[in-house]
Amino acid sequence: MVDDDFFQSLKNSIENARSDQIEIGEQKRNIKRICVITDDFDDYDKRFKFGEEMAETYGSEILKIFLYNIETLLKKQYSIDEFKEAPQELVQAIKNHSAHIKELKEENVRIVLDSTARGLLYALRDLRQSDSEENGLSSSDATALADFLLTNLDRERNISYTVGELLKEYKPQIVYFKPPLLRNRESISEEGFNYVTLQILKKKPNGTWVMMRGKKGISDVKNAVFFLLGGQDLPTVLRGAHAAVSVLPDLKNVNMQYVILMDQKKVNMASLVSETNSNEDLRQLLSKKMEEVVGNVKIGGKIPETTVKFGEIESDLPSILEEMHPDLLFISPKVTTDNQFDQELLDVVLVAVQNNISVFITY
C-alpha cells in the first residue's frame, strides 16, 4: 500500500531529523526551591547547613523539614521500664523534646510530627496552661503515657504521608536528604531503604531531583559519573546531562564519564539462542550500541568518556564504583506511572549510598 509506505517514510524521515550531536550547555534548570529533610538520628545542623550551601549556590529558597517521630526517639534513649521506675524521667524527656522543638521552630524549621503525638502534645500544653503548678506525674500516669508514646501507632506512615503532601505543595526542584530517614544512618548497610525514604521517592512531585549526600557535597565534586544500565535510552542520558549542567557549579573542572553496566545474564541468554553471535560478539555489539547512544551528547562543551562493564548490580557494582571512585553519581531511573520505582536503578542507588557516594537522582 502506498499509504503505508508514505507514512513509514515520513515517520523515518522525521525520526532521523535528530542532530548528530546534541549539546547540553545552556539549558540549565532554574533551581528556585530546595528542600532539606532530616531528623534526630543525624547531625541535623550539619544537614541543614549543606542544604543552605546548596541554596546559596543556586540562589534558591530553602525549606527545612525535620521529621519528628516521638516513639523512635524515646526508644532510642529509654526503655519503658525506666519510666515505670522513675516517672520523672518521662517528664524530663518530654521537656527535652519541647525544648528541642522550640529551638527548631526558632530556626524556621518545618517540623513534621505524626498526628497522634501532635494530639498528645497539645493536650499536655493545655494541661500546663490550666494548672501551672502541676509538673509531676504519678507512676501509673507515667506508665500509661509511656505506653502510649512507645507504642507503634503507624507514626512513620503518618509522617511519610505528611512529608509527601508537603513536597507536593512546595514543589522543590531538589530534595536533599541522607537515607534512611528516621533510622540510624548506619542501618542502611543491613536494612536498605526504609519505608519513609521510599515514600519520599514515590511521593515527590514529578521532575523533582533527589540528592543523597555521601562524602562529597556538590561544590566539592571533581569526578562525576553518569551511571546507565544497558538498554537505557537517549532521553535518560539527556536527563542526567541536564542535571549536571544545572547543579555542578564548576562544570569545566569536573571530570565526567559514563559508566554503563550491561546485564551479563541477559547476554548469556541471548548468546545461547543466537546461532550467529558468540557471547563476545554480543558484548561488542551491545557496547557499540550504547556507546552510540551516549557518544553524541556533549555536556558543558565536552563528551564524557564511556566505560562499558558487564556484570550484575549486586555482585559487581561495588567494585566498579571503587574503580571509578566517583564523587557524585548521576542516576536516571525510568519515569514510571502509578508511583512505582525503577527497581533496578533503586538497587544501584542503594549500593552507592552504602558506599558513601553522593547520588543525584534525575527523575
Partner: protein, 475 residues
Amino acid sequence: MLSLLLYRIILAYSSPIKEALELSEINLTNLFILLGIFIATYALIVWKNFDKNMAASLGALASLIIGNAIGVFTQEEFLTVELAHDYVILAVLFGNLLIVAVASEVGIFQFISVFLLKVTRGDPKKLYYTLAGLTFLLSAVVNTIPAILVVGALTIVATQELGYDPKPYILMEIVVINTGGLTTVISAITNLIIAAPFKIGFLQFIVIGAPLAIILLAVSIFMMIRIVPIPKISGEELEEKQLQIAGYNECNVVKDVRKFKLTGAVFAITMLLLLLSDNVGMDISVIAVGGGIIMVYTSGYTFEKILPKVDWTLLGFFTSLFVLIKGLELVGLLDLLSNFLVYVMDQWLNGNSILSALLILLFSSAFSGVLDNVVLAVALTPILEKIAVSNPALHIGGMVWALIIGTNLGGGLTPIGAPPVVLGLGILYRETGSKVGWGEFFKKVGMVTLVRIFISAIYVIFLVLLFSSNSLINL
C-alpha cells in the same frame, strides 16, 4: 417477474416513489441488474476480507460489460463522452497526489513538521494546538488523506519522544481534518466531486467554506481537549521535554538545499495559483498537474522515481466508482432518486429551500457516517444536478453546500465514515496498539461531530437565505 413484483410493492406502499417512477421512464430490469452490481460491489468494498480496490475494479468492469450488453450505453460513448467530466476530477486528484509525492521526497512536509515540533518546545498543550493548526492547514492545501498521514507521522514521533499518549492528539486530528476539508475545493476528494459540476471556483469555495471551517475548528478544539484531555506536566518536566526536542534539526531532513528551496517555491506558487484560479483563467486541474510536473523537474527527480510514489490505488478506486455511478445514472436510477427527492421537497417540504437543504445535510451526514463518504458524494452529486435542472424554484446552492458539509462532517460520526478517519485510527492502532471501538469513537468524536453538524445546519440556513437574496454564488 421479480421486477414486476417489486414494482407493484413499491407502488402500493409509496406514493413518492410511484410519482418518481411515473416521471422516469425506466427499464426496471436493467435498473435492477446495474443496481445489483453496485450493491454487490459495495458489499465487497466494506467486507474486510476483500481488497476494496479490487472490489471497485471488478464492479466497474462488470458494469461496463453488462451495461453495454443490455443496451444501457455503448462503451465508446461511455468512455469518451459520459466520463469526460470525471476525467477533470481525476486530473486534479492526480496533480494533488503528484505534488504530495514530490513535496515529501524533497522533505517539505518533514521540514515543516520538525520545525513546528521544535516551536512547541515539548509542551503538550502547545503541541496539541500546533498539530491542530498543521492538520487544518495541510488538509486545506493538500488533501485530507496525505494530511492525516503527514500529521499522523509527526504525532507518533513527537509523542513517543516526549512520552505522551498519542490518542488525544490523533482523535483531535481526525476531527480537525474533516473541518479542514471544508476550506478549499482541493481539501477533500468529496469537495472536488461535488464542486466541479456546479462550477464552484477555488476562491468562491474558500469564501463560503473557510468561515465555517474556522468556526468548526475552534469548536472542535475546544470540545476535544475537554473530552480527551492531554497530560499536564510540571515546569521541571517541561525543561526535560525541551531538551529532548532540542536535539531535532529541521535542516537534517533536507537532502539538497537548492532543490528544496526551488521546489518549495513552486509548491507555494502552485497553491497561490490555485487560490487565484478563478481570476487567472486557468482550470484547477491544469494548475495542479502543471504544478506537480514543474515540482518534479525542480526536485531533480525523474518521473520514473516519483510516479511509483503516487497513490495509484486511490486513483484507480475513484475511477471505478465513477464508472459504477455513471452506469446507474445512465440506466435512470439517479433520475428516479432525484424525482423522488424533488417530490419529497415539493410535496412534503412545500418547496421550502431551507428545509430541503437541511434534509440534504442530515441525509448526507447520516449516510456518510456509515457509507464511504466519497461513494455518497459520487452518487448524490448527479442527483442534485438533475434537481437543479428539473426544479429551478429550489435554491440549489444551499443544497450543494449542505452536501459538501454533510459529506465532510458525516465521516466523523463513525470509525469507518471517511478515509482519513480510517487511516488515523489505523496509525494509532498499528503504532501503539491502542484500539478505538465504535462506542468510544461515538462518545468522543461522534458527539463533537453532532455538535458540528448542528452548527453547520445554522450555517446552511444562513447560506440559503443569502442565496435567496443575493446572487453572490452563481448557482
